[in-house]
């Protein structure tokens, strides 16, 4: 009897889920550019190795955590700061290695990658899009990130023997991970910010489509990997907190006249309107100025050229933010259905960074501010190594506090002091002796970034051109 009781007690202990240790034996990260470690308009090994999944793998002592590493200067070549006054950010002139096997030096790995963050991917892409490394090696960059990361279009299903599409989801489940992170959905909305044009089906995924794809993705992971702990991050809560939106002023001071707003195609900028980063170079070229003969700033994505708009009117910001909230509501609803899926709400972190309340490190305050805030990279959109560490810290806190893992905190002293890729690069600091350019972000650099991030936007626009101000189609 006594022995039976002991066994029962032991069984009860074993079954107790509250303090279950998280098993980090096999970790797979699913997501987009934020998960890949994409920074300063580039996928580069220096930042990939400092992406939040890589940091977590390090802290957890994960044995194998492979990534699609790209050599300096990155894909596309990384943006660098050439000059602060006048402000000039441009692509590095460091040339990529001519041999693709040197440039993409981990493509010959005979196993899947564990970091399945695919720059540019939206939720549907994780379910449906495949890649083929031979396109990339052959110089075809049309589907570059999927080709680089997924590499093979189809694999054989070991149970049925049939060929199936090798998507990010298939790769993730096939690896039978014990721990998974998922951070997807940003590209379902934030293309609207990049193009300064919120239009459903073009720069944003219609909410119903997003909901269906997200439900399918998380459901497949949760049910196929019942023993894995899955941490899911929701998306940025406010489009105005991204330096890409928040940095360029909407008005100028003219002596004797006062504050005068810049001019867009639909008239002067008003309260609550925002200019995106590429507006800076246009202003520097004389566009949008409140003087006769100055061409107005483009409002929206140009369907003929694929050139982005640079003005987010207050109503557009409201639409985008409403969509961000709706997407986050879907994420909360879907993740709440599964006991092995744990939602990390990133809104409080970015709210604190925006308002200067984020916990300091030895008196060092991090903010969302462009260039000097410490979080965002030169593209104004993606975090650099410090921003990635902030995300990793939040995930570490979650698995420690809610799942009973005992991961050590990151060494933020090292991370705050290690600097950008040039610090570790044999090429040294890139701006030594460079020519300052009269631009915030040179157009060439921006277009490169834009093409990498949203390869399909212009195509979609040409297939389905709405009227330029058809923002009401967003539900």
């Amino acid at each position: 009897m006594k022995r039976t009781l002991l066994v029962l007690c032991a069984a009860a202990l074993l079954a107790s889920p509250a303090l279950a240790q998280v098993d980090f034996t096999r970790y797979v990260a699913l997501g987009d550019s934020l998960t890949a470690g994409f920074a300063s308009g580039s996928l580069m090994d220096y930042y990939q190795e400092r992406s939040y999944p890589a940091l977590i793998a390090d802290q957890a002592g994960v044995g194998t955590f492979q990534m699609p590493l790209v050599a300096v200067p990155g894909l596309a070549p990384a943006l660098v700061l050439e000059s602060l006054s006048p402000l000039s950010i441009a692509q590095t002139d460091v040339a990529p290695p001519s041999d693709p096997l040197e440039y993409f030096y981990n493509v010959t790995l005979e196993a899947p990658y564990q970091n399945l963050g695919i720059p540019g991917a939206d939720t549907t892409d994780l379910l449906a899009t495949t890649g083929n490394i031979f396109n990339l090696i052959g110089g075809n960059y049309d589907n570059v990130m999927f080709d680089l990361i997924l590499r093979t279009p189809q694999v054989e299903d070991p149970t049925t023997g049939q060929l199936v599409d090798y998507t990010a989801l298939v790769s993730a489940i096939g690896q039978q991970p014990t721990f998974v992170t998922v951070w997807i959905g940003s590209n379902d909305v934030l293309g609207a910010v990049l193009a300064a044009t919120p239009v459903d089906g073009i720069t944003m995924t219609p909410l119903a489509d997003f909901t269906a794809a997200y439900t399918q993705l998380i459901g497949a992971l949760a049910t196929s990997l019942p023993n894995a702990e899955i941490v899911v991050l929701n998306i940025f809560p406010d489009a105005r907190w991204i330096p890409f939106t928040a940095t360029v002023p909407t008005s100028t001071e003219i002596a004797g006249v006062g504050t005068v707003p810049f001019i867009g195609e639909d008239g002067p900028l008003g309260p609550g309107d925002y200019l995106t980063l590429p507006a800076g170079s246009m202003l520097a070229q004389g566009m949008g100025l409140p003087v006769p003969g100055s061409p107005p700033l483009p409002e929206n994505l140009n369907p003929a050229t694929g050139a982005p708009g640079v003005i987010l009117r207050a109503a557009e910001i409201e639409l985008i933010n409403a969509r961000l909230a709706a997407v986050n509501q879907v994420i909360a609803g879907v993740t709440g259905q599964f006991s092995n899926v744990h939602l990390l709400d990133i809104a409080p972190i970015f709210e604190a960074l925006e308002n200067g309340h984020y916990r300091p490190f030895g008196g060092i305050e991090l903010t969302t501010e462009f260039l000097v805030g410490g979080i965002f990279s030169y593209d104004g959109f993606h975090p650099q190594n410090v921003g990635q560490a902030v995300v990793a810290s939040a995930i570490i806190d979650l698995v420690n506090d809610r799942l009973g893992a005992g991961l050590p905190a990151l060494d933020m002293y090292r991370i705050l002091n290690e600097g950008g890729w040039q610090a570790a690069s044999p090429f040294g600091i890139v701006c030594g002796g460079c020519d300052p350019k009269q631009a915030i972000l040179t157009e060439q650099a921006f277009m490169q970034l834009y093409e990498v991030m949203l390869p399909e936007l212009a195509d979609r626009w040409q297939r389905q051109p709405p009227s330029p101000r058809q923002t009401s189609s967003v539900d």
Binding site: S85, T247, G362, G363, L371, D411
Partner: protein, 432 residues
């Protein structure tokens, strides 16, 4: 623009993260009391009674006019070992060696057989911390000095031959100096850079406040006495202080130019601060005969008044800040022993337990406190003519080892350890 990028960032970076700590109370008012662990409220028979019990000198009118002057040297040391996330596991640093010497001076003049008047200058609060150049906590504090000088006048009155009361007023003058380094993200290197030093300091003697004190001393018979005292809280309003910014070149001229435009380097802008000091009460019981005095004492400091610290820049409101401190009231226990070995020589021993009011979250390089155990010893000499004498005191103070527990308000986490202080001094007394 949402706001001006660099200015805003600089403002955030400048918000001073300072926390005044418990340890800036000083009990070194005289070396006789020091030798007895400060268990002196029920004894109070030398001019340092001005601090320990305002009623005490009422029973000493027979000694005539007394002048007592002295100094106590304080040599503190403390080590720090970091933890993640900042400054990281295994990081170590040590407080720079410094010696402080708060002086004291008392003049006591009998006005009648039962009334004594005291005038005194002493230092009831003080603080000094300095860390090595370049240490990881330099954005919080590199060097801090606080000195509070108390200029007091006091009357003690023996209502009858075994009961006395006393009271006085104190004019408090504060001088403060705070130094730290200003960090800003260098957009070229994408790492934290030291862009400026800032020194906040009081400019003259006009940062002051008034306080008051009362006490009683009763001789109960059989050698027993009981004493109590209360010193009021007060707030020093720093109406005359300024900040001096000095730029540190980063090697990136256009970044330096932006920093130069964002911080008031050539102006020494005015700073307004308010610093709340705690009240303090003690109650003690002593027994003595011709050879031996035994004294015990309990008291509290009302540190909960130190809930926040405001630092305002009237001309640069964006630089102003309010720091949460959340101190608690703290207790003290004191025990003292004096053995009058001969009419000339006396030997003293004592022990004090001084509880820290500082929550672990506000421990920082500016001040990192812990509960204190103090072990004291002393020696007294009185000349055969009784016209003069001296007291020598020594205290070995041990600070509790203490961790910030990962919750440092400044994000500077770790373990403060091996905190000790040697306090050694002498007071000379002349009687006229």
């Amino acid at each position: 623009m949402k706001r001006q990028i660099l200015i805003a960032a600089a403002v955030v970076a400048l918000a001073p993260s300072l926390s005044w700590g418990a340890g800036f109370a000083l009990f070194e008012a005289g070396n006789k009391a020091q030798g007895m662990g400060g268990a002196f409220t029920a004894v109070a028979n030398d001019p340092s009674a001005m601090f320990w019990n305002p009623a005490g000198m009422a029973f000493e009118t027979g000694e005539g006019m007394q002048v007592m002057a002295g100094v106590i040297f304080i040599a503190p040391s403390q080590d720090f070992t970091g933890s993640a996330p900042y400054p990281g596991e295994g990081y170590t640093s040590s407080l720079e060696e410094q010696i402080f010497f708060p002086p004291h001076l008392y003049v006591v003049k009998p006005l009648s057989d039962t009334v004594n008047f005291s005038f005194g200058v002493f230092t009831p609060f003080g603080l000094g911390t300095e860390w090595p150049e370049g240490f990881a906590g330099r954005y919080i504090s590199t060097k801090a000095d606080l000195q509070l000088i108390d200029i007091g006048g006091q009357v003690s009155w023996a209502l009858c031959e075994n009961f006395a009361i006393g009271g006085g007023i104190d004019y408090m003058i504060a001088s403060i100096e705070l130094n730290r380094v200003v960090p800003l993200f260098n957009p070229y290197t994408q790492s934290v850079a030291d862009v400026a030093t800032v020194k906040l300091q009081t400019d003259d003697m006009s940062n002051n406040s008034w306080a008051w004190n009362v006490g009683f001393l009763a001789k109960l018979g059989g050698g027993f006495s009981i004493g109590g005292m209360y010193r009021s809280d007060f707030t020093v309003k720093g109406t005359s202080a300024s900040a001096e910014f000095n730029q540190i070149p980063t090697g990136y001229p256009d970044f330096d130019a932006v920093v130069a435009g964002a911080l008031p380097f050539d102006e020494n802008p005015d700073v307004y601060t308010e610093l709340n000091f705690p009240d303090f009460w003690q109650i003690g019981l002593a027994w003595s005969n011709e050879k031996l005095t035994i004294s015990g004492q309990y008291g509290e400091m009302g540190w909960s008044v130190f809930d926040e610290l405001r630092i305002d820049f009237p001309d640069y409101p964006g630089l102003s800040s309010t720091i949460v401190e959340n101190y608690s009231d703290s207790e003290q226990y004191r025990f003292g022993l004096e053995w009058q070995a001969s009419p000339v020589w006396a030997f003293r021993l004592g022990y004090v337990f001084d509880e820290t009011p500082q929550p672990p979250e506000s421990m920082s390089p500016l001040l990192s406190d812990g509960d204190r155990d103090g072990y004291t010893a002393g020696l007294g000499f009185v000349s055969k003519s009784s016209n003069w004498g001296f007291d020598i005191g020594y205290e070995y103070l041990v600070l509790e080892e203490r961790s910030t527990g990962g919750g440092s308000y400044d994000g500077y986490d770790g373990f403060y350890h091996d905190g000790v202080a040697h306090l050694f001094g002498a007071s000379f007394t002349w009687k006229f």
